[in-house]
Each structure stands twice: as C-alpha cells, then as structure tokens.
Amino acid sequence: MAVPKRKVSKRRVRIRRAAHRKPTPPVGTCPECGADSQPHRVCPSCGHYKGRQVLTVDAD
C-alpha cells in the first residue's frame, strides 16, 4: 500500500490550509452617514437603506 514517505511539516500543513481561509466580507460605506456598512444591507449605524429610514437605531 502506498504510504507517505515523510511527515508533512507544519509549514506544509499551514501552506495547504492557508487556501481554506474564509474570504473577508465586503465592506462598503453608507451613503447617508458615511459609516462602514455592508452592501445590500440596512446600515447598522443609521438605519438607512436605499435612501429611506428603515429602522431607528438606539445610539443616534
């Protein structure tokens, strides 16, 4: 039966697993308040989406 000849070094393991990273989520800027917000989502800091106030945010 075929068997690996050498132990896989930590480096090799880590190089392989580096490809399994989760991609960083996209970050945009809220056109209303300028804070960081995700595209296609209601802005968490001002509660605006597509130019209208969708919900009220506590620390406003």
């Binding site: 209303e32 995700q38 989502r41 001002c46 605006h48 989406y49």
Partner: protein
Amino acid sequence: MRHRKESSRLGRSSAHRKALMASLVCNLIVQKRITTTLTKARLACRLAEKMVTVGKKATLAARRQAVAELRRKDVVAKLFDEIVPQCQNRAGGYTRVLKLGKRGSDSSEMALLEWVDVLPVDKTVTKTDDTAS
C-alpha cells in the same frame, strides 16, 4: 424524489414548519414588520403573499381558507380588514425583505420582513422620512 427542490426545510418536520410559518405570518400581520433570519423571512413572505391573494377574494370561503392556514381567527380578521385593503393597488409583491447583517450568536444573516404598502406600527419610522441622521 427531492431533486433540485431548493427551498429550505429549516430542520423541521412539515407540521412544525407550517406552524412556524403560520406564526411568522400572524406576527407580520399584527406587528406589520418582523425581524427574523433571512431564510425564514423569505419562506414566510411566500405564505404572506398567498394570504393577501386569498384575502382579496373577500368571501367566507376565502376567510376559512386563511384561517386553515394561519390558525387564528382574530389575525385573519386583521388581515382582511387592515392589510388587504391597502394592498389593492398591487398585483403581487406585497412584502419586502431587507437584509440586516449577521447576528452575533450564530452568525445567521438576519432580515426585516415588512409590507410594501402598510406602514409599520412604530411611529418613529415613516416611509417618506428624509431627515438625515
């Protein structure tokens, strides 16, 4: 076979899922807008739209059909008297799902489910609010 059936079953039995959907739509009718996970919101909006379509018939049979689905007479009355009249100018697309980002506990994408034509109960939110904050 369940080939290419893409809708989520939410890890629930058919009866459990139907009960959950009835509950979500009842809350949407009473509260006018609900916050839930994106998957649940998208499934609930299907039933909600169907209920409005049933409501537009405005017959006793339609009313009973809605009660059979939603399981609450008081909520069906609210649907027929409050929600449906405001949806008359629209031929579908009565609900809107807005993404809210992921919640902290399990990183689930959350969403806001609301009526397009019905204003939310919360008086601080208006459809034509243009004051910058």
